[in-house]
Each structure stands twice: as structure tokens, then as C-alpha cells.
């Protein structure tokens, strides 16, 4: 089973890289972009075959290492 973890900065946390991307898009003539937030996607190959157990395990991984919950939020998706 594969899991995909989406990690994004929490709302309200300034994302300097996203801002830079927004400016760059503007300078390319894409005027309709009000905001850009940049995050990470982490894909995991798991031996676990039970979806519920897999999700619980990946959630633990997020809390322990994959996300810094001071500034980031995460979503776990099984694929």
C-alpha cells in the first residue's frame, strides 16, 4: 500500500518562497494570482495492507518526523 503525505504551512504562517513564486508569476504576466503557498508531498511504500492501520501509522510518522507541527499541517492520503 502507498501513502501520500501532503505537508503545507499552517494558515497565517508567512511563506517567503510562495511569495517569491507569486512575484515571479506576476513578472511573467500572470496577473490573476492572489497568493501562492508552497508545500511538500512525501510518498511512502508501506508493507501494511490494512488501510486504517496504515493511516494510523503514517499519522504517527507525521507527528514524529515528517511534519513540524509548530508551523506545518499535514494530510495523509492512501493511494
Amino acid at each position: 500500500m502507498k501513502a501520500r503525505v501532503h505537508i503545507m504551512l499552517k494558515t497565517g504562517v508567512l511563506d517567503p518562497q510562495g511569495e517569491a513564486v507569486r512575484h515571479a508569476l506576476g513578472s511573467l504576466g500572470f496577473d490573476g494570482v492572489d497568493g501562492v503557498r508552497q508545500g511538500k508531498v512525501i510518498e511512502l511504500d508501506l508493507t501494511e495492507s490494512d488501510p486504517e492501520a496504515a493511516k494510523a501509522e503514517v499519522t504517527k510518522m507525521c507527528e514524529a518526523l515528517l511534519a513540524n507541527t509548530v508551523i506545518e499541517r499535514y494530510d495523509v492520503e492512501l493511494v
Binding site: V13, L14, P16, A64, L65, L66, N68, V70
Partner: protein, 222 residues
Amino acid sequence: MKAAVLVFPGSNCDRDLAVALRAAGFSVEMVWHKETALPAGVDFVGVPGGFSFGDYLRCGAIAARSPIIGALKSHVEAGGYALGICNGFQVLLETGLLPGALMRNAGLKFICKPVELEVATAASDFTESHAAGDIVTYPVAHHDGNYQADEDTLAALVDQDRVAFRYREELNGSVDRIAGILSENRRVLGLMPHPERAADEALGMTDGALMFRALSRAVVDA
């Protein structure tokens, strides 16, 4: 007077820190991150700058889960002194020993230059050589030094006089120009600028030596 300097793959200020500590009178042991215990009788632990684990995932994130970190936490919980510089500060935040997070510099550029810092509090064994408001010069060399914390954490840091250093001028987007913070018991300091790179005449800056000498006095008195 015994200090341990932790070494991770990618640490690159570990030996500079050891030199600065020895000059202040400490005997220093380098401790590889795979160790699970600190040498007996360690008074002080330094977490050095560098690029531990290549800054993979997040700066300091993987180092903060190394085997040695359990021993660092026990040392700190027992009231021991610890100092995290630059990447070491990032590691201390990732361990949760200090609050907040360090994000990419607001200007997105790696900043490498001497900067003026305001000593925000003299009430710590790291800063007691100074008066609050004194200006010191240490070099910075970082890409992710933009200190951020939620409002409650910031209010607590200010109310408890735990901001140790502020950049004299806006540098990297850090909230309240924070360059370094103290733990609640004031025995753990994390800061982005490098006192160990300002601790010898040959380096052109000596303000940092005052911090290491102050620490050595504190350890003797403790």
C-alpha cells in the same frame, strides 16, 4: 569543567566551537550523534552549526531524532547547560527544547556577514558579561534564520525576558528581530549568529569569547 560538542554528518562548526570552549577553559569531547550517552560529568553541551543531514526534510529535523538527543534532553531536564548555534538552534527547536521555528529568510537569500546584535537580556549565564542594550558583533551564515512563533509563545518569551539577542536592524524577517532565545530555566540558549566565529583576535571579532568565558564562570560556580 567539561563540555561535549555533538557532531552530526554535515556539522561544520563543531571544531570551531570546541576551539572557543577550550580557550575559555573547558575540556571538550566531541560526541558522535549515534552515541546514546554523554561522557560522564559533562556540564555543558554544544550543538554546532552546519548542515546536519544535508538540511534534508527540514533544517535540523533529522539530527533532532538522532540517538544522542535522548541524552541531550536528559542533560537539559537535569538543569544542564546547552547552546545551539545556527543549525544547532534549528536542532533545539526541532527537539522541542526551545519553542518556535526557523523559516526561510524573508529575502530568500543565504546571508553571510558580521551583524550587530542587541543583547536583549543580561539575566542569563550566557549574557551576564553584558548589560541589556549592549551591542555585540557576531557573524551570521544562514538561509533559514527567520524566527517565527505563535502569539502566545512570543508573549511568553517577552514576558519571561527570554529573548537573549535581537538583530539591531531587520535582517531575515524574524519576528521582533529575534536572533536568540533562552529556555525557561535560562540554561539553554539557541541563536542563529555564531559567537564561536567571533572568539579570537585572528578572526577579527572577539565579542563571542565573552559568552564562553561567562559560561565557564557559571559552570565553576554551579
